[in-house]
């Protein structure tokens, strides 16, 4: 029931947000057919023919209605500049962005939570080094991290390719490793900090002190009481950051020349390519909603009180 309600709300959000994006595109300066001809002066007859072919003269609400009814029927329309079905255009790009974000998510979870736990449970030099590293990681902008990683690991050492996203699973993995690290770095740093703080709080809490006093072995206290409890705030922050990766992947896709959704979105916005912008906006909003839903479900499995509806 909870899941169905959430999914219905998500559908509502999708309709509203796609309307807003459509309206914003409509209000932006310049007309699509002029972007098509790249500012060249062509005869008014040609411009009229293009407007006619893409129904650009229909009133705003009619265009939105036509678009949304087509989407319900699974037709995302045709790209204005590429003259291709949007579905076809996205099919080539989705796997790259999906894999890039998944890899980055793995890096955030493994590196962020892993280092956070180490820093939270050990004192002294290791803790200090991890805190310093996470400060650094958080301060380095993604595009700069991309440049550094590329010049060290691709150009100087030659371990990774300089551009492109590869074919086949292993080749893709090899191509996307550096971009994923560049993309994940700031988020991993934040997650490490939050994890460290949460672990320290739980470690000093009364119930873990009590457990230790009762003679429960240290490892068991750590796993059952400290780490599990500290995962509540951490899972929220991890979810938010992973959802944000999709929107942030553009910078990395651009720097590493990956054929992802981000680069496609930017060119489409620049060319006022309605159908493409709308489709990608929907994908972004849906992905954001679904990831948040997954985080909430995860909450329930970490903390039984959430599932029972008793409140935390």
């Amino acid at each position: 029931m909870f899941v169905i309600r959430r999914l219905l709300a998500l559908a509502g959000v999708l309709v509203v947000s796609s309307f807003l994006v459509f309206a914003a595109m409509y209000a932006a300066p310049g007309s699509p057919e002029n972007f098509l001809v790249q500012g060249r002066t062509v005869s008014p007859e040609v411009l009229a023919a293009i407007r006619e072919q893409y129904s650009l003269d229909d009133p705003f609400l009619v265009r939105f209605w036509n678009w949304i009814t087509n989407v319900v029927h699974g037709d995302f329309g045709q790209s204005l500049s590429n003259r291709q079905d949007v579905g076809e255009l996205l099919a080539n790009r989705l796997p790259t962005t999906f894999m890039l974000v998944s890899l980055a998510a793995v890096v955030i979870i493994v590196l962020g939570i892993g280092l956070g736990i180490i820093a939270g449970t050990r004192d002294g030099a290791i803790d200090k080094i991890i805190v310093l590293g996470s400060n650094l990681g958080f301060a380095v902008p993604t595009f700069f991290a991309a440049l550094i990683l590329m010049s060290v690991f691709s150009v100087a050492l030659g371990w990774f390719p300089v551009f492109g996203s590869g074919d086949g699973f292993l080749d893709r993995l090899w191509h996307l490793t550096l971009p994923a690290f560049a993309l994940a770095l700031p988020s991993a740093a934040v997650v490490a900090r939050i994890t460290r703080t949460a672990i320290r709080e739980e470690r000093d809490s009364e119930h873990s002190a009590m457990a230790r006093a009762r003679g429960v072995p240290g490892g068991l206290v750590l796993r059952r009481h400290v780490i599990r409890n500290s995962m509540l705030p951490v899972s929220t922050i991890v979810g938010v950051h992973i959802a944000g990766l999709i929107a942030g992947s553009f910078v990395v896709e651009y720097a590493f020349t990956l054929d992802g959704l981000g680069t496609l979105l930017v060119t489409a916005v620049q060319r006022k390519d309605f159908a493409v912008v709308q489709a990608i906006a929907i994908i972004l909003v849906a992905a954001f909603g679904i990831i948040n839903l997954v985080v909430d479900l995860l909450y329930a499995s970490i903390d039984p009180r959430v599932r029972l509806g008793l409140g935390a």
Partner: protein
Amino acid sequence: MKKRTIAIFGVLALALSGCAAGGSDQGAPSLSADDLAVTTPAGGELDLATWNLPFGEPASLDPIKAYNYAENTVVANLCEGLMQLQPDYTVQPNLAESVDSPDASTWIYTIRQNVKFWDGEPMTTDDVMFSLGRQLDPNEGSYWAGDVVGNIASIDKTGDWEITVSLTRPDATFNSYMATPIGNVVEQAHRVAAGESYGTPSGGVMCTGPYSVGAWNQGQSISLERNDNYWNAKKVAKTKQVDISFIVDAAAISNALSTGAIDGSYDVPLGSIANLESATDGSLILGRSLQIIAIIGTGNGTFADPAVRKALMLATDREAIAATVFEGTAEASASLVPNNAWSYADDIYKKGRASLTPTTVDIAAAKEALKAATVDLTQPISIVYPSERSYYADIISEISNGATAIGLTVVPEGVPSAQFGAFFSDPEARAGHDAFVTANYMDTPDPLAFLRTILGTGGGQNYNEYSNAQVDGLLADAGAASDDKDRAAIVNDIQKLAMAELPWIPIVDPSVRLFLNDRITGVPASFVYLYYPWAADLGAAE
């Protein structure tokens, strides 16, 4: 001729290496048009070469939708015109065997026989009629359907292998446009069968060129595959396959080229120059060009006064812009016609250019020119540029320095690319702004064709609605002048008027920035790669 161009190339290589050794704290030495390369030494057979398009992925391969760097650089190797632009800028018969012009309003093309499309079908006169006719059909939506196409009165089949084009107004430059996509020939049956998907990865094109389209991996790369049955046996491509990537980020381009991941590229970004000049695996070659960077007046505000524009031009250190912003790869513009951007009457054009105001800064003359201004000089002049391209900000700040010296205020105004594009097409977008920047190029190496778009009443690039009966008269006279020398003499007069009126302020003439890995050679270095099959000349360096 060929020998001379190769000699020039040698001189350039020396100049470049000297430049790299000397360091660049003083700014690169001033570039002279004579230093620029036209070709690179011929190469041998090669299996695979990799190339890059720094302006991104082509949106379509349909020649009539190809009117920019990305599309044309690819389509030039696929589809051919009745005429062909050569690296030395001459225009030679290609799919037409010969051309005859009794007067500048009538162009008679004898179509070449025994030309085959990639699928083996012979090219017929009907294919040519159909292809030229596509320009005139609004439903085909040609991006080239501007002034030149609009001037076509009729296209008639006047013989089994003969087509006659009649123009409304005489235009001596018309034939040179047959080397652009306006004159490109595609297979009629294939165009009709492909329908809406024509020119896309699924629909493709069917042409006669030295390469056909191989795998098109969208967002990443496109492969050109050699046409082994190319009709011109002497010009069969040397390289079997050319993979073209779409890397647009300057740092990524530097890395790809300097590590050898990509073999070569035209138009390498300004941000890559320093890196590529010191690359150990290849060299940066500067080529003869048809490009110009200019400030376009919108006809609004203080900048609308020609006296203000003249003063600003005189006060701006354009040589400094060429040396610093372009790192010595450009030359200060003395005219709205880029230097050496002509294919005929060289001595007349050189003389005309020499009579123009030199490019050196002259504050006294600028102040003098400003006295003729009739507008309110206290208003700031806003020059709009796409904020993603920071080198424009550097150019405008240099202009602003000059403006300050003569008591004017120039402010740069960055807008997002999406909004900037509208400045070229939408008068409403231009309202409230004085001027905007442009990186422009000539469609054909004929100064008349270029000046006509800027100065002619209703011209395609006439953004300040300039209209002058004297200029229009001269443009018409030049269009009717079939004799190259007569035409050049009239164009020189137009150029003089253009530099007095300055609808655009010319800033610098950028050269072609070509990077070639040491393992490849052969491509032209001049600005012909938008319409000439450059990849067919690409081969292995010995």
